[in-house]
């Protein structure tokens, strides 16, 4: 597993910009960061970002204002950035355990999509923001930021999908999967419920697995451009 996954699994969560190079002091700094981050998340779930002050965060974290500024010199903005990073890392950490156990590509994709949708639905801070302050969330999900998110997901998914296909194919599959999840999250549809494994299995079989098969077929053929398969691929549908 890559060092990203090790850091995530050990719950190190949000990093300083530019990454960690200093050796970790056991417990104190990391634990204090997490208490403040969790304090901020509690406040956001209750009242959103605009109304949350550093004092609110300090109170929720059980520490002083001064401590918050010592740990996060950038103040509220830095706390928010760390909170986002921490939640993303927690999500990937939990997902890694579940999809590491998956037997095949279909299981990886279904598990990943259901878990992502469930995590989003259950995330009280995110739910508050999507309802009351969507302008603070949506910029992170579109245009240039979506490109960054696609890369981040592909980096995370690479070792898991890499069990079943080459690296380039894994990147493409991770990207299509992320596009599907984001599309239905932002624009829900009748008949598609991303938290329901049966509904997701249908989506994965209809639209994602054929792309996987085509990519694997294309990877075996010579040349940079994949060719349209001459015969339709046989797929089991139950």
């Amino acid at each position: 597993m890559s060092s990203v996954h090790l850091a995530v699994v050990h719950g190190e969560g949000g990093g300083t910009p530019g990454g960690r190079s200093a050796p970790r002091r056991a417990g104190t700094v990391g634990a204090q960061r997490l208490r403040i981050v969790d304090g901020a998340l509690t406040c956001i779930a209750r009242q959103g970002i605009a109304k949350t002050t550093v004092d609110d965060v300090a109170r929720a974290a059980g520490c002083s204002r001064a401590t918050v500024y010592r740990v996060f010199p950038g103040g509220k903005d830095e706390v928010l950035a760390a909170a986002a990073e921490t939640e993303v890392a927690r999500f990937f950490s939990s997902l890694a355990v579940d999809i590491g156990a998956a037997d095949d590509v279909e299981a990886v994709l279904v598990t990943a999509i259901v878990e992502a949708a469930t995590a989003v639905a259950a995330h009280r801070p995110l739910a508050y923001l999507l309802e009351h302050e969507p302008e603070l969330v949506l910029p992170h999900l579109a245009f240039g930021r979506m490109d960054g998110l696609l890369r981040q997901v592909a980096t995370f998914a690479a070792p898991f999908l890499g069990r079943f296909m080459g690296h380039d194919e894994a990147d493409r599959v991770a990207e299509w999967t992320t596009r599907v999840v984001l599309s239905y999250l932002v624009c829900p549809a009748d008949g598609v419920e991303l938290t329901d494994p049966a509904s997701v299995r249908r989506l994965v079989r209809l639209f994602l697995l054929p792309a996987v098969a085509a990519l694997r077929g294309g990877a075996e053929a010579a040349g940079p451009c994949a060719v349209v398969p001459e015969t339709p691929t046989r797929r089991k549908l139950s």
């Binding site: 969507p134 949506l138 910029p139 990207e175 596009r179 624009c187 549809a189 209809l206 994949a226 339709p232």
Partner: protein, 204 residues
Amino acid sequence: MTGPSGAGVVTPADGGTRQRILEATYACVARWGLAKTTVEDAARAAGVSRATVYRYFPGGRDELLDAVVSWQFVAFFTRLYDEVRQATTLEEVLERGLVFARAQVLGHAVLQKVLETEPEVLLPKLTVESNRTVGLVAAFLVPYLETRPLAPGIDARTAADHLARMILSLISAPGRLDLADPVAVAGVVRAELLAGVVAGPPRP
């Protein structure tokens, strides 16, 4: 649906006062951005009173800016429709459409400026528009899908909805795909995007 028009000279044929206000507001946004454009600015630029602006847009600044975004959104898809309407196959629609749409996004100076300086003001509005647009794009694709044998388990409407979603996603963020390269686009459209959708060439 209003036709596309740039933020230039307004003639009476363009559809009257409401359109004139929209175009004037757009010109203000181009200069000062969304957040700083006020009803007063729009009124002055359009050569009408504030009261007149409120008469056409009773919701005030928010309604006015939503209407400007909506108008530009419709204009964008009108241009896209004009680009692809002559296409005879599904592949051609998707390939020409993606290349054209991405070029339009990158070349739209006001859009790029707003995305860079105040995305949080524009993106919630675009999200609302996008959700409406999935249906419109899907409806456009259905006839092309009906001429093809489709993969088992898929009907034209389900396929069209999926393709519409992926098209909007790709236009917004191309990811690993170079949308300026028609050969790369053709490869991805035919192999990956249509993989689970079509089962063969168009019926004769």
